[in-house]
């Protein structure tokens, strides 16, 4: 059955902000879906609050709503757009839950919107863990023994007969939020309590633990003719007990015989039929007992998932794309396989290579968090690698992570290793357990011992032993002969690792290797193990015999992606890379993408002309460049768009003779090296905060005394604000240095600490600008909502700036241009300024596309990243203005007063990071970035836009109720007016002693509550923390003084986060919040406007007629 003719417009719901467990894999699936639906001639209406995504680019849908994904907002969109159908299976749990809600409230029926891709019954059967167990039973399969509970009493009873440890899991949450192992009553009460809260249906499931079993996943697809295919099987190297999102996973499965595999396949197919997913993809997880092969079905996701993105990249079978086609009527046999073009999609991919995915964590950002891996997903990103063998793929994957401690190493003498201690450490799954295992093996542990400690399958362990043996050969070989080197490369050793083993520098090893003619070949991911010719150049390197890269005529540009997502470097950078690919393809170049992040759009084989799924290390990139130079003319490599990862390679690539386009490595150095940058500023007569460097407490004290407290201290060699702290006095300065040294950070003359004057009460300003050597295009000037001192990535901001005057914007423009010229930027530049007491300070300049580029592009309706790519390849801004890629006149700094206001708000992951005793980690913001994602609110004025951003970020500000206020002395003055306003709006105020006192002075009544430290009163009067936990408080205002969160502040914020209530930690946020609350008060359906309409309006005022984009990629 081909395309359904009764559908003409479709609403697609995205997944909202990037959060742990729901990341940019849904941008990949959503983008694919939007593309194919439009190719089918359907009108696509999209809602997604996440501005950093590619799918929310105006060109991917007919109407793009960057609005909060809440039932009433989506209803408003439906009422306005009247789509025929809603496709909810490509936006993760968020989309699925929203669709269920809309169905439940009768909205879909009311507007005659059909749910396609999955019906409500199917969704409920799969998502409700209890109902699902019935499904499994009806399919003649087994699930873990369990009990469904709605109250704490039921919970305790159930635990009684299931026995400890017991798995606690709420229904309808994603990424295992709120789930985990309880080992005793205390843990159980705590976790089940949280679980009941986290579950939209206040329902938790207790389950028998089958920790240590082998874990597998199957990705299936089904069409309306009931044709089912298994796209991919995935085996978890980490056994049951570690969330698949946190596990090292391998495709295809490595340790199943055909009989066992077919059994999983049969069950999978039976389940998808029984659940009734009539079209689309789904993911099913299994546990297999390694002792007797007993199979238990864990769960099923009736939608595309993180794993299906992985499976798509691993096999070349684009699950989301095909799911979208199936949803609108096609059957699998009617859809061609993109890669072979000859054969249909109704087959099962077969692999002649091995794929390994490794998770990337961010525990260093949450020192208080429990780093043990469990059933709650904690990783923030992942890297994938492809190789012809497991060893090759694994080592490539590990170096793709860009975290040195993940790598296998052979430092020190094996004799010095404590085998038993290592085995003991390996028992507890944590970030980097695999390298502990490698050290244990190196220390002489047997496969049996390691298997016993970790449950990792002996076959995988034997492969690690193989790596050890090869390492030994390399180290012991009298000389580095071709056979020795070739064998090492074949098993994935990097030149650096070989160098370390032979104590010679990496580049010398590379020299030897090239002299011996040992280079990787590039194979093709073709879905069929070479049975049919592949039409799509999707390559991976391997030290094997035959190379498959074909020559090409067009001039090529190589774009380096940003690697695994991490806090500080996420989907925003993929956005810029993808745009460069589109822009350069449109202007006639052959685009070549290099990246190792399976979640992204950039690693979709039809984003660029050629895709190399490779680690972003110097060695791997050099080999890609070499391969491309052999097959045609490489104009240059783009390092400016993928964030810090490619930027860090620029100088070394250039040193190896690789042409870098855009801002030169020398210029990059000028901006990044403090001394050099200081000179650039000096020459331009610009100022930065007073600063100095110190390698001891006495020196630090001296600097601080000279420039004055508060000071901002940070180790000189870390990025992303790592280890940054605001220090208010000598005492805390001492303790910082103490801690720094304590935590193994060696403070030496080579690695000093940087001490900056901390600008108090300064307004932070973020700028993205484009410079071609002559003209500056000011992309946008963003005014932060929080004061300087809170990382730009974590603070909300407004564009156009909410309070800055034209004079200030002009100064910002002048200084930005001076820096762009002084540094020698060709392309994008990001600068953070701080405006304190009328003085404009330069905090830092990043000579690259920044996190805010997509936000600015959407807020101003100008494709900045595309323009940047063009400028890097020599176009002038004047030319781009003439072309209609940029406005003919004016720029993001001269937006008309009628322009809509966009507010960006950060989304923070505190709820996922519990301390070992189950407390939420401290949620106070600081100079170190900790947000995982962002949302955008866009509307006619700041208050409305701000309110929307809050709604999108965490469900929104309360319209009434009780506010708790407790502010530090320096904030007391600033708080009075906003609190007064809240009272007028009908809020009740709870306050701590001092705050209440000040309020009373200003005639504002408030109830004094007991401090947490004071404990409950004589007659059991509850403390503020208890009140928050009892749900008596609707919004919390708590501004701590200083970074060292004192017990009270910490307890308060933790409780608030745990209860999912908005928490305001700066007075600036407070006044914005008050405006937001006012703006939202008393309306019916929220007003919604598509980005296209916003841009049209803005462009009209602006007199900007953009050149119409062709459908990207096509």
């Amino acid at each position: 059955m081909p395309l359904r003719y009764d559908l003409s417009s479709i609403l697609v719901i995205g997944s909202g902000p990037i959060v742990i467990g729901q990341a940019c894999e849904f941008d990949y699936s959503g983008t694919q879906a939007c593309r194919v639906l439009r190719e089918e001639g359907l009108r696509v209406v999209l809602v997604n609050s996440n501005p950093a995504t590619i799918m929310t680019d105006p060109e991917f849908a007919d109407a793009t709503y960057v609005e909060p994904i809440t039932p009433d907002v989506v209803e408003a969109i439906i009422a306005k757009e009247r789509p025929d159908a809603l496709l909810p299976t490509l936006g993760g749990q968020t989309a699925l839950n929203t669709a269920i809600a809309l169905h439940g409230s009768g909205v879909l029926e009311k507007y005659g919107v059909e749910l396609i891709g999955a019906n409500v019954e199917a969704i409920q059967l799969a998502e409700d863990r209890h109902a699902f167990k019935g499904v499994v039973e009806r399919c003649g399969a087994e699930s873990a023994r369990s009990a469904i509970c709605h109250t704490m009493d039921e919970v305790l009873v159930a635990a009684g007969d299931l026995g400890y440890p017991v798995v606690v899991r709420p229904s309808f949450t994603m990424g295992g939020l709120g789930s985990g192992f309880a080992h005793d009553d205390v843990e159980l009460r705590r976790m089940a309590g949280a679980g009941l809260h986290a579950s939209p249906t206040t329902e938790v499931l207790l389950e028998e633990s089958i920790i240590g079993w082998k874990e597998y996943e199957l990705e299936l697809m089904r069409d309306r003719n009931d044709n089912v295919v298994v796209v991919c099987s995935i085996e978890n190297l980490d056994p049951m007990g570690v969330h698949t999102g946190d596990s090292v996973t391998v495709a295809p499965s490595m340790t199943l015989t055909d009989r066992e595999f077919q059994r999983l396949r049969d069950i999978g197919i039976a389940v998808i039929r029984e659940v009734g997913v009539d079209t689309g993809g789904c993911n099913i997880q299994f546990a297999v007992n390694p002792v007797d092969g007993r199979i238990i079905v864990i769960e099923m996701n009736p939608r595309v998932s993180r794993s299906s993105a992985l499976a798509s990249k691993a096999t070349g079978f684009p699950i989301a794309k095909i799911a979208a086609r199936l949803a609108v009527g096609y059957t699998l046999d009617e859809i061609p396989n993109d890669i072979t073009r000859e054969t249909p999609a109704s087959f099962e991919p077969t692999l002649d290579y091995v794929v390994v995915k490794v998770p990337r964590f961010a525990f260093e950002k949450f020192p208080a968090a429990d780093a043990t891996l469990t059933t709650t997903m904690k990783s923030v990103g992942e890297a994938m690698a492809v190789g012809r063998s497991f060893t090759e793929a694994l080592q490539k994957a590990l170096r793709s992570l860009e975290s040195p401690k993940a790598l296998f190493h052979w430092d020190g003498a094996p004799g010095d290793l404590d085998r038993d201690a290592l085995l003991e450490t390996a028992r507890v799954p944590t970030d980097g357990r695999l390298s502990t295992v490698q050290q244990a093996l190196r220390a002489g542990a047997t496969i049996e011992q390691v298997h016993d400690a970790t449950g990792i399958d002996p076959w995988f362990l034997d492969q690690l032993v193989l790596i050890e043996e090869v390492a030994h050969e390399v180290a012991e070989a009298p000389e580095l002969t071709a056979p020795v080197l070739r064998r090492a490369k074949r098993h994935g050793f990097s030149d650096a690792q070989v160098g370390a083993l032979r104590s010679m520098p990496e580049d010398v090893v590379r020299g030897v290797r090239h002299a011996l003619g040992i280079r990787p070949v590039f194979k093709t991911v073709d879905t069929c193990a070479a049975e049919f010719a592949a039409a799509t150049p999707y390559h991976y390197s391997s030290y094997d015999e035959e190379d498959e890269v074909t020559p090409s005529e067009r001039r090529k540009v190589i774009i380096l992606g940003s690697g695994p997502n991490r806090i500080g470097q996420g989907v925003e950078f993929d956005y810029s890379c993808v745009h460069a690919a589109f822009a350069l393809r449109e202007s006639g170049y052959e685009t070549v993408m290099v990246n190792c992040n399976p979640e992204t759009v950039s690693t979709d084989y039809d984003t660029s002309d050629r895709l190399y799924f490779e680690p972003l290390t110097l060695e791997d990139v050099l080999e890609v460049v070499h391969a491309e130079q052999r097959s045609g003319e490489v104009v240059g490599v783009i390092v400016q768009l993928g964030g810090q990862t490619p930027l860090g390679l620029a100088a070394r690539l250039e040193a190896c003779g690789v042409p870098i386009v855009g801002t030169s490595p020398a210029a990059i150095h000028l901006a990044e090296e403090r001394g050099a940058f200081g000179r650039v500023l000096a020459e331009a007569g610009l100022i930065s905060p007073k600063h100095g460097t110190a390698s001891s407490f006495l020196e630090a004290k001296a600097v601080a005394d000279r420039i004055g407290y508060p000071v901002l201290v940070r180790p000189s060699y870390v990025l992303g604000g790592r280890g940054m702290e605001i220090v208010y006095d000598e005492e805390s300065l001492a303790s910082y240095l103490g801690r720094a040294t304590g935590s193994g950070v060696r403070i030496t003359p080579e690695n000093p600490v940087l001490v900056d004057r901390f600008l108090d009460d300064a307004i932070e300003i973020d700028v993205d600008a484009l410079y071609d050597g002559h003209e500056l295009y000011l992309g946008g000037v963003m005014e932060h909502i929080e004061e300087a001192g809170i990382h730009s990535g974590d603070s909300g901001c407004a564009l156009p700036p909410a309070t800055l005057g034209t004079a200030e914007v002009t100064r910002v423009r002048e200084q930005t241009e001076a820096i762009a010229r002084g540094v020698g930027v060709r392309g994008l530049l990001n600068i953070q300024f701080a405006l304190a007491a009328g003085v404009l300070y330069v905090l830092e300049a990043n000579p690259r596309a920044s996190r805010t580029v997509p936000f600015v592009s959407k807020a101003t309706g100008v494709p900045l990243a595309k323009a940047c790519a063009r400028v890097m390849l020599g176009s002038s801004i004047a030319e781009l203005r003439a072309e209609g890629l940029l406005p003919a006149v004016g720029d993001g700094g001269t937006l008309p007063p009628e322009a809509p206001v966009s507010v960006k708000e950060a989304v923070l992951p505190f709820k996922r990071f519990l301390t070992p005793d189950g407390q939420v980690v401290d949620s106070v913001l600081g100079p170190e970035m900790r947000s995982t994602g962002e949302v955008m609110g866009i509307d006619v004025d700041f208050p409305r836009a701000f309110a929307k951003s809050q709604q999108a970020a965490y469900g929104g500000l309360p319209q009434s109720g009780t506010v708790f206020v407790s502010v530090s002395d320096r904030d007391k003055r600033a708080m009075i007016f906003p609190v007064k306003r809240l009272v007028d709006l009908g809020f009740d105020v709870l306050a701590t002693e001092g705050t209440a006192h000040t309020l009373r002075r200003h005639g504002i009544a408030s109830t004094v509550v007991r401090k947490h430290s004071a404990g409950p009163g004589p007659d059991g009067e509850p403390t503020i923390v208890q009140r928050i936990l009892d749900g008596e408080v609707d919004v919390v205002v708590n501004t701590p003084s200083g970074r060292s969160a004192r017990a009270d502040g910490y307890e308060i914020r933790a409780a608030t986060t745990a209860m999912d209530r908005p928490i305001i930690t700066t007075v600036q946020q407070l006044s914005a919040a008050v405006q937001g609350i006012e703006a939202m008060s008393g309306e019916g359906l929220p007003s919604v406007t598509s980005l296209q309409d916003h841009s049209r309006a803005l462009h009209a005022i602006w007199g900007f007629i953009p050149a119409t984009d062709p459908e990207p990629g096509s």
Binding site: V230, D333, E342, S346, D352, W459
Partner: protein, 399 residues
């Protein structure tokens, strides 16, 4: 001197390491794209005289167990892999694959670029190849000599070499409902097992059996198995099918059996460039319009009218009445199944018994049972149904 060398008929060679038994072997080089089930593959008699190249790089991970053999021995002439397991891991494993290969004297080679080899065979077609290891390694010329001297698959009559020497019976599981005479042309263990599970008592007969031998077991149906070799040669067996059809005894054939039914219906068989060998092949059942993912292992195929013509199959006339192409491979439109409309007979080119492979096609054994119990009427129904199918789908097509 290289440890082991693979030499292809056209002169291309691959150097690798000795695997399994060392020595020399020749056969037809073919590649198999299955990612699981190497034990079933190795013991599948259809691979007799073939040097099998595994496209999946890691082979041997689950060792060798006592349950998964499809016949009494390993049949492949030689085995080519990239990364043999050093250690087996499976609760069912009894010994390592390398040891088993060595024990059964199967010469193999490892550490070769199996993808390069596969691409070569895809472009140039299946061809003779030899594996030489240990003392057998000689000059390229000498080794090529040996390879070119080997008999080629076209024209090879091999059923006799793999068939059971004497008849044996596989008892029905539970109550016996039917009796089937199954001609062993290289039958796999799973086939009689699946029939037995359906209450069939299976009399497995040698390839050389006569009509009388077949009739002697008073069968409700006759089954022809898969097997190695060129269907163009097996003339006596073709005659046997004719006799069965004349007596309107329900007939079901698999793989080689499908090619032989084709010949009995007066159709030709031909050699595919590189064959279908894998467990992921999409086959359209024209009777239901559904796609099944199936296990294939065939280098030859039947040439029939109306194979590639979309989904509708126009019946054509044969010495035994009307017949139609019931199944086609969606990858390349190769005939994957035949169905007689006037006599109770059908066959498929692929492996409904799977092992290794998906179980999607197991329903065919039920059709066989259906055919033996309900008899001819159902054929008419099927045919009618498929005509309607063809019609409606036909409409869909154009739009």
């Amino acid at each position: 001197m290289a440890d082991a060398v693979l030499v292809l008929e056209d002169g291309r060679t691959f150097v690798g390491r000795a695997y399994g038994a060392s020595g020399r072997t020749v056969g037809e080089a073919v590649f198999c794209t299955a990612m699981t089930g190497y034990q079933e593959t190795l013991t599948d008699p259809s691979y007799h005289r073939q040097v099998v190249v595994m496209t999946a790089p890691h082979i041997g991970n689950t060792g060798w167990n006592d349950e998964d053999d499809e016949s009494a021995r390993i049949w492949v002439a030689g085995y080519v892999v990239r990364d043999p397991a050093r250690r087996a891991s499976s609760w069912r494993s009894r010994r390592g694959l390398a040891d088993e290969l060595a024990a059964q004297g199967v010469v193999g080679i490892s550490d070769v670029d199996t993808r390069a080899l596969t691409r070569h065979l895809r472009e140039r077609g299946a061809m003779r190849a030899g594996i030489f290891s240990g003392d057998a390694v000689a000059s390229d010329a000498a080794m090529l000599e040996v390879v070119r001297a080997a008999p080629s698959m076209a024209g090879a009559d091999l059923a006799g070499e793999v068939s059971t020497p004497r008849a044996y019976v596989v008892e029905a599981v539970g109550e016996k409902r039917l009796t089937v005479a199954a001609l062993d042309l290289g039958i796999k263990g799973m086939t009689p097992e699946l029939m037995a599970q359906r209450g069939i008592e299976v009399h497995v007969l040698p390839a050389a059996s006569t009509v009388d031998d077949v009739l002697a077991v008073a069968p409700d149906g006759v089954f022809f198995s898969n097997g190695p070799g060129d269907p163009g040669t097996a003339n006596d067996v073709v005659g046997l099918i004719g006799a069965v059809l004349e007596r309107r005894i329900p007939f079901f054939g698999i793989c080689f059996g499908n090619q032989l039914l084709g010949r009995a219906l007066g159709l030709d068989t031909y050699k595919l460039t590189y064959g279908h060998r894998g467990i992921n092949q999409p086959v359209l059942d024209r009777t239901t319009g559904k796609v099944e993912v199936t296990a294939h292992n065939h280098g030859f195929a039947v040439r029939a009218p109306g194979a590639g013509t979309g989904t509708g199959a126009e019946p054509f006339d044969t010495p035994h009445g009307r017949a139609r192409v019931s199944h086609v491979c969606l990858n390349d439109d190769v005939v994957e199944g035949l169905e007689c409309l006037d006599v109770p007979a059908f066959s498929v080119q692929y492996h409904p018994e799977a092992a290794a492979g998906p179980h999607d096609a197991a329903y065919l054994f039920d059709r066989f049972v259906d055919l033996m119990t309900v008899g001819c009427e159902s054929r008419a129904r099927h045919a009618g149904a498929s005509q309607r199918e063809a019609h409606t789908r036909g409409e869909g097509e154009g739009s």
